[in-house]
Symmetry: C2
Subunit: 369 residues, 2 copies
């Protein structure tokens, strides 16, 4: 299999579309939510669980895997898919977000970013060329270009310079990349400045990437502002290429993002809150530890068909969390990922049948997640 993307159906109601993303290992219907496997595993899930829910594309974090277990080990294993026994498709981010958010003492020059590991303080240099080398070694189907991800808010001039550098780095990534069974996506930046977002989209579009990430959002700005940025950006990206809104994955944002033409999403949010005992349900969030569920022998989500909801009760889940049992984290993670998958199915049904806005309104009224 090669890599391709085809728009199969475009909504009449909004910019939403249904597409077929063919990677080197799977045929994936879009819009799609990608669970995050930061350290080579989607936390508290097995590969069988992910496949049972129907996921065909997950994300690995270059920054984390580069530091631990290290590129050499993952390469020697035959890449991350083989290392982690994941037979479907994989996307790796570039570490651009993590070197700014997690690493210590990062220093940016035109060459790249010097940073210290958050694990052991060791010193490292990420350049566009080095990151491409690492991502080629990890061997995902889709590698993200190395970018500069600024915090919100950021000064206009700083944002402009970082964006311009991100564009130069995008070109260097394209030049350095040479793995035939992997594609590179460019990343649009520009913080929350319309002018910069538009320029970034145009510039990257002109570079002819096979797909585009929209980065630097969901970093603390108000959600309406994030959606506004999508309104400016998406129309300037090529119709026939997939668009990936990076780091976004709350149910409401899936609806809003798809309506604005987004095809791919990822976020640690559903798995992270799950380990904390918070479930996303069709009736809103459920804080599993809450004393009100001590004797609640009903399912976590009465409208859900996942194994957690068909086999276990809220009272049992609450007990597991109170007792600190790993099974609790597993069962709620399973549910949250299953729930997001179902939300996306509902979204696609809306797109397909011209009932998107209606279904969206119903969803927001019912489960103000």
């Amino acid at each position: 299999m090669g890599f391709s993307f085809t728009v199969k159906h475009a909504s009449q109601e909004n910019r939403g579309r249904i597409g077929l993303l063919e990677t080197f290992h799977s045929r994936i219907e879009t819009p799609v939510f990608m669970p995050v496997g930061t350290q080579g595993t989607v936390k508290a899930m097995t590969v069988d669980d992910l496949r049972a829910i129907g996921f065909q594309l997950i994300l690995g974090n270059t920054y984390h895997l580069y530091l631990r277990p290290g590129l050499d080990i993952v390469s020697e294993a035959g890449g991350l898919r083989r290392f982690a026994n994941w037979p479907e498709s994989l996307l790796t981010d570039s570490g651009g977000f993590q070197v700014f958010s997690l690493a210590k003492l990062n220093k940016v020059t035109e060459q790249g970013v010097n940073f210290r590991s958050h694990i052991d303080g060791s010193s490292h240099l990420f350049t566009p060329e080095r990151v491409m080398e690492i991502e080629m070694g990890l061997g995902a189907d889709i590698a993200m270009a190395f970018d500069i991800c600024l915090p919100y808010p950021s000064n206009f001039q700083v944002a402009k310079e970082a964006m311009e550098r991100t564009h130069r780095w995008a070109e260097r990534c394209l030049k350095a990349h040479h793995r035939p069974d992997q594609v590179v996506f460019g990343i649009v930046q520009g913080v929350t400045y319309r002018e910069l977002r538009e320029e970034s989209a145009r510039t990257l579009a002109s570079l002819g990437f096979p797909g585009y990430g929209i980065g630097g959002l969901s970093v603390g700005e108000p959600k309406p502002l994030m959606y506004e940025m999508l309104d400016y950006t998406v129309p300037l990206l090529p119709e026939e290429k997939p668009r990936y809104l990076m780091g976004v994955g709350s149910p409401d944002a899936l609806w809003e993002g798809v309506a604005r033409g987004i095809d791919m999403f990822d976020c640690v949010f559903p798995t992270r809150i799950a380990r904390n005992g918070t479930a996303l349900t069709s009736l809103g969030r459920v804080i599993v530890r809450d004393a009100r569920y001590a004797r609640d022998f009903s399912p976590l989500d009465p409208n859900c068909q996942c194994k957690t909801c068909t086999e276990y009760t809220r009272a049992y889940l609450r007990h597991l969390f109170k007792a600190g049992e790993i099974l609790g984290a597993h069962l709620v993670t399973y549910h949250n990922l299953y729930f997001l998958k179902q939300v996306m199915e509902e979204i696609k049904l809306g797109l397909r049948t011209g009932t998107f806005e209606e279904r969206k309104a119903e969803f927001f009224a019912r489960c103000a997640n």
Copy 2:
């Protein structure tokens, strides 16, 4: 289904036997190892995992479940099997071990044991009658009688008095128990005194329990001394009743116990060391975190067919443990339980074909666990 035990085959080589244990929910071939689900879940495992390995009988801890989530909640759920979605058979211990080992400030009188919860310091009284009430509420197939479990070493007079009290409590348990779909096993005590062990076995045998636990062993005494106690005890217990060596489950002890006529075992050992990153394998123990496995892309146990060994490498498992990922605990727990199940299959094959001693010698030579 009712409750019965039938010896199907007796070894010519030793006291070992193959039996059929019918409970109210399963038909179980013995000798059998029971995974421990202390707080209503075998740690890091799902019910589906346990069934996939082939377990039909697991253990729940009365002390823990009584304290959290509490008897009322488990009863209201319809018992522990329903609460935890476990469709097969269940055994509950009596808390006799935990009130002495875990609880604070326990005080023993003829009536029972006063203790403070290790969770919140609250004060509780366990009497034989109260424990039967709790175990009836938990609703396992097999409930263990409430006993006094002394440390090793213990003074002879103290051991004798505790044993005599345990016998009186055993009678009180039988009298108080009245759940038709549950049986009560008596527990032999006597620390490491031959005279006491023999007296305890004879006394309990005369009370006509449908099965017998051998308790108060594996509490720090040398293993040969534990085996010696079995040599004294087992011949005095009725042939036609199952014998359960409580709290024992290392691979070597399974061989030694079965050879001495033990039919049932339980232990947290295989699951506890798994969460710590230690695997039981056909070639001895593997400390998964060990740096020597960083680039070892071979299975955890080359002779094992479990999902962990067929799908993942030592290098990946090591990475999971180094990175603190839950999946590591799950995969090694799965393997250790699968391994113990296979050891028991090998033991039964030895019993069946008159090759027990030969297989045992081969096992000990290969994997000095």
